[in-house]
């Protein structure tokens, strides 16, 4: 495989990681803790889309070799992930009176409950969308790039969602309030923002993006109950690289880490004999180096808290 081919795969994988990273960063900065259930929220979204697609099926027309029904199922996945997150916030996190570390530990329990329920419902095996696999796009093979229309659909959808997040944060009332709250929750509350409601919206946004990422994970490869957890560390690495709590940092960090993971096999060409299995390990090493050298990440503003969207 050529370098450009690895890079093309990296872009596709990065698109998924970016969606997960943005959500994790939003929840980190607004809810105030490292949410270990974020990966399993992706799994929830993925399985919800899987079920929805099974129910509504093809729906005639196709876009990028994907039936329109898939995009409807994607929306269902987003909605279900957001709803599950809201329910979790209401019955689990909100009544808790403990610090961010207690919330972090609780979120591990939440992650296990999500994963266990999915495994009870769907078994431990692989589930795939009933969409035929595609051959790489002919026109691009000439340039040495082998991507399928599905890969292209993932990238385009991710770009649309990321632009949507940008518009939401910069140009809407909700976005301004979220940024204010991420910056300084006490000040935001004092100036009349209903911080509680903003927190719920941040769960909707963060979990919704995670749900989309989960559906794409299912399209990219296959769904298993561990699919979200297996990318959680990569997402954490991306968020830390970008600067915890920074959404734009998470976009950049997600892109870079996704590329690195997919391009790991290239290392064996320069004499470091490690295979693709070590992709997450390389991401982890980068994360530790970032934590040592620049704990505020790329987009961090120098304050160790790393606050601000």
């Amino acid at each position: 495989m050529s370098v450009i081919e690895f890079a093309a795969n990296g872009v596709v994988y990065s698109s998924i990681i970016v969606l997960g990273s943005i959500g994790l960063a939003i929840i980190y900065s607004i809810a105030g803790f490292a949410n270990f259930a974020h990966g399993d929220t992706m799994t929830v979204g993925g399985y919800a889309a899987f079920v929805a697609f099974g129910a509504i099926g093809g729906l005639g027309a196709t876009v990028l070799a994907l039936p329109v029904g898939f995009f409807v199922a994607l929306l269902v996945g987003i909605a279900v992930a957001a709803a599950v997150a809201i329910i979790t916030e209401k019955i689990v996190y909100e009544p808790l009176d403990i610090g961010s570390i207690g919330l972090l530990i609780t979120s591990i329990g939440v992650a296990f409950v999500y994963r266990a329920l999915i495994q009870l419902g769907f078994g431990a095996g692989r589930n795939q969308f009933d969409i035929p696999a595609q051959r790489p796009i002919e026109e691009l093979i000439a340039y040495g790039v082998r991507v399928t229309p599905h890969d292209l659909a993932i990238v385009i959808s991710a770009v649309v969602l990321v632009v949507g997040v940008h518009v939401l944060l910069q140009y809407t009332d909700l976005g301004r309030k979220m940024r204010a709250m991420a910056d300084n929750p006490d000040l935001a509350r004092a100036s009349g923002i209903r911080t509680h409601r903003i927190k719920l919206w941040s769960w909707v946004l963060g979990a919704g993006l995670a749900g989309a990422g989960g559906a794409f994970l299912g399209l990219y490869n296959a769904l298993t109950p561990r699919v979200g957890f297996s990318v959680l560390l990569v997402i954490f690495a991306a968020v830390i690289l970008g600067g915890i709590g920074s959404v734009y940092g998470a976009m950049l960090g997600g892109f870079l880490i996704g590329m690195v993971v997919e391009m790991t096999p290239l290392l064996s060409r320069v004499g470091i004999p490690i295979g693709v299995d070590y992709g997450p390990a390389v991401a982890f090493v980068i994360m530790v180096v970032v934590l040592l050298v620049r704990p505020t990440g790329i987009a961090g503003d120098g304050t160790a808290g790393g606050e601000g969207i």
Partner: protein, 393 residues
């Protein structure tokens, strides 16, 4: 005047939680004795379970000295457990790709030395980090170690694992032959269903002896350490690290000491596991192992060594008890997700309703003799130091 051996006074000295727990444990022990005597529960299987419970208790003690006392969020329990288990297995196992066939004592030493080296190597970059960064970094470390064990077949046999591990006392002058020359016993208390104690029973009994040795040593060392000035400083770091720094303490160095100490105890549990199970594979390093131990510690009460012991056995009850879900045919449930569900719910419920755990630390923080028997301020009943806070009863 309460006397140490006065049962009534001892009982009234216990907190309500301790009283209820003591009663529950008595019922449980009584039930177990009945089950053993009637043959409903095989004696050697019971000892195996007891060994497993003690192993989790040992892991919990290790985590407790990191999280419970110093406040270090270590999510790489499974990694240090794995280092101990693989250290022992690679030295003694019959299909070990590296050495194999050495005396288990050698495996024990290698496991502990490796754990200490890895703990220092991990501690150097991560112990300076904020609490939640430490959590993420240690979880990452554990995954990397699992990936290495799974992929580097030339050193670890990969996912095939290592077999042919001898039991710990094999080759010892007297104990090595002990299970073979002990006679088979047949105890018939309930007519018709005699309890038979054969070689497997004596082998498990040896394992339990080894475990009790490990557990007792760890428990005593930790109790001694935690009641000393060193332990008080660790608790200060947990409560307010800046304060400890302001007092002129090198908190980084103290955190490192606690991290290495806890990791050594976890590795000890791993060594025991290798000789109990006689087979190790990378699956033993699954992150779920880490979270079992976390459940044990927060359920028992962070910072409470008695709580860690209790938590260890509760976790094994969940782990092994859920196997029986497969036997209940009318419930279409699989054991693995059921176990995961119970662990998850337990974490959420404990954090919600009893974040201090079942047995929060009380007496263990101070030498009993440090409280003067004739101290004028001593209350009539209750434990002098921290009983007053029990308002949730």
């Amino acid at each position: 005047m309460t006397d140490r051996f006065d049962v009534g006074a001892y009982w009234s000295n216990l907190t309500n939680a301790e009283k209820r727990l003591t009663m529950a444990m008595s019922v449980l022990v009584f039930g177990l004795v009945i089950a053993l005597l009637t043959g409903a529960l095989g004696a050697s299987y019971f000892l195996f379970l007891f060994g497993l419970g003690g192993m989790y208790a040992l892991l919990s003690l290790g985590l407790n000295s990191q999280w419970g006392f110093t406040g270090l969020i270590n999510f790489s329990v499974a990694a240090f457990f794995g280092i101990g288990a693989y250290g022992a297995a690679l030295m003694t196992g019959s299909n070990s790709p590296i050495a194999g066939g050495f005396n288990p004592i050698f495996g024990l030493a290698i496991g502990l030395v490796l754990a200490a080296i890895v703990a220092v190597a991990i501690g150097i970059p991560t112990l300076r980090l904020r609490a939640d960064y430490l959590a993420i970094a240690t979880l990452g470390l554990a995954e990397v170690l699992r990936l290495v064990l799974q992929n580097e077949r030339q050193w670890t046999n990969g996912s095939a694992g290592i077999r042919g591990i001898p039991s710990f006392f094999d080759g010892w002058p007297l104990l090595g032959e002990f299970p073979q020359w002990m006679p088979g016993l047949e105890i018939a208390i309930v007519p018709g269903s005699p309890v038979i104690l054969g070689t497997p029973f004596w082998r498990q009994l040896l394992n339990v002896t080894l475990l009790l040795g490990f557990l007792g040593a760890a428990f005593l060392i930790l109790r001694r350490a935690q009641r000393s000035p060193w332990g008080r400083l660790q608790r200060t770091i947990r409560a307010d690290e800046d304060l400890a720094k302001a007092l002129g303490k090198n908190t980084y160095s103290y955190k490192m000491q606690a991290f290495v100490l806890g990791s050594l105890i976890m590795a000890l549990a791993g060594v025991f596991y290798a000789h109990l199970n006689l087979f190790v594979n990378p699956g033993d390093l699954d992150p779920i192992t880490t979270f079992y131990v976390w459940v044990a510690v927060i359920l028992g009460g962070s910072g409470s060594n008695r709580g860690a012991l209790l938590g260890g056995f509760v976790v094994v009850a969940i782990r092994e008890g859920s196997r029986f879900a497969n036997d209940i045919s009318w419930l279409p449930l699989d054991a693995a997700p059921l176990r995961l569900l119970m662990i998850g719910l337990l974490i959420i419920l404990v954090m919600r309703f009893r974040p201090q755990g079942i047995l929060p630390p009380q007496r263990e923080l101070i030498w009993p003799s440090a409280i003067g028997r004739e101290a004028p301020s001593r209350p009539d009943r209750g434990v002098p130091q921290s009983n007053g806070g029990e308002t949730d009863e």
